[in-house]
Symmetry: C2
Subunit: 216 residues, 2 copies
DNA sequence: TCAATACTTGTCTATATAGTCAACTTTTCA
DNA sequence: TGAAAAGTTGACTATATAGACAAGTATTGA
């Protein structure tokens, strides 16, 4: 009421939902966790609503339907994914490039476990909602990165290995710490993975990958 | 009708469902694929029934309910899992032991992709139905296998690495070829993973792991 | 202050789903 | 051969779920 009087100060041109679209973010966050845990079919709009602490009907204001919500969540995830993937850039020193990339991937697993799990669930289900992404951006980028490895191999900077398998191994190893967390916690007898434990894991992976590829 | 006449030959003491329990196996097989693809909540009894080509009510004759069916599927999977895990046995030569183990794991991924995916989905969901297994058998066995590595390290047969990370890396890398198949197919521009391609992947993994751990 | 627009939400509906049940058919074994 | 047991199945029920909708409230810019 009191501050109503002060709102005559112009806030610039009108943008829909400038303030209350925080609801949208809450819903997206809750949806990411729900989809990551239960998959597309197993997730329910009701649980997402409860988790986001909004009425279920509110979700349908921001998202056309369950598939639309899932698509929005997936898009967010893929953007993050691409960002990290692009860290694998051309550079003279393979040890430097791969070391940084492994660190970046591990950091992603630690700070975005739900995104990693969502991606994994989608893949395991046959990637029914990712075909466009995989066919377009992914395919192209993958080939580009592979050529970097071919270059290193030609320059005798690393062993003659199929670059694809090296990449798969890095992806697999780093994502494992997010996706298979329950197994890791029990095997290592801990309650949660600390930042330090992630760093140790990253160091082990870097040691094995770099030495194993003959990079030094 | 005709062979009815010959059935007076004793077939030994009566065992429930000796013949028709093939339905049970059909259901289990269909359920494994359905649960692997959609997770526990996302799977439906109706689709399992259709896939197994039996009426839905028949499933409830063999399995108390959805959870019971899931438990049976999971138990099958874990038995297979243990069999492969136990191949990682004590032996003088780490190169030999790890090489065989990696081959065994890759072979498992190739021949039992659904089992691998089911296990992965369960883990990603927080392993709600695996706590007993993880707490008991798993924990114990994991520690035993770790001590083998410690022994090798003490004997300077491999680099001083945390054995847990080496194991995680082997698991991650080998399971990846089953769990992330869509990604692999698109990246490698193929329609399906052949036995030969699995062998090449196994060779790459063995190269990197063995050399990376200083085994050789 | 006001009308327009953005946003919220309780209630309702159609459908999908897990599970039940009783009638039915087939197999078993004495 | 026959009675008992194993196995099968169509029809049913209760519930959970995605989504629609209309009536409401809050915010905006003039």
């Amino acid at each position: 009421m009191a501050n109503r009087m002060t709102t005559h100060i112009s806030r610039g041109p009108y943008k829909p939902g400038r303030i209350r679209e925080q609801s949208r973010d809450l819903i997206l966050q809750a949806a990411e966790a729900e989809f990551a845990c239960h998959g597309f079919r197993g997730a329910t709009m009701q649980r997402i609503a409860e988790s986001a602490q909004v009425p279920k009907a509110n979700i349908h204001y921001y998202f056309s339907n369950k598939l639309g919500l899932y698509g929005a969540v997936l898009e967010n995830t893929l953007n993050l994914w691409d960002t990290v993937f692009n860290e694998l850039s051309s550079h003279d020193d393979p040890a430097d490039v791969l070391g940084r990339y492994i660190d970046a991937k591990m950091n992603f697993s630690r700070t975005n476990p739900s995104a990693s799990r969502l991606f994994a669930k989608e893949m395991i289900s046959g990637a029914p909602h990712l075909s466009a992404y995989l066919q377009q951006d992914y395919r192209l980028w993958f080939k580009q990165r592979m050529s970097i490895f071919d270059c290193w191999i030609a320059q005798k900077k690393m062993d003659d290995l199929d670059p694809a398998h090296v990449i798969f191994m890095i992806w697999a190893s780093t994502q494992y710490y997010a996706d298979f967390e329950p197994q890791i916690l029990i095997a290592t007898d801990t309650q949660s993975q600390s930042e330090a434990s992630y760093q140790q894991a990253a160091n082990s992976i870097k040691h094995i990958i770099l030495k194993g590829c003959g990079i030094g």
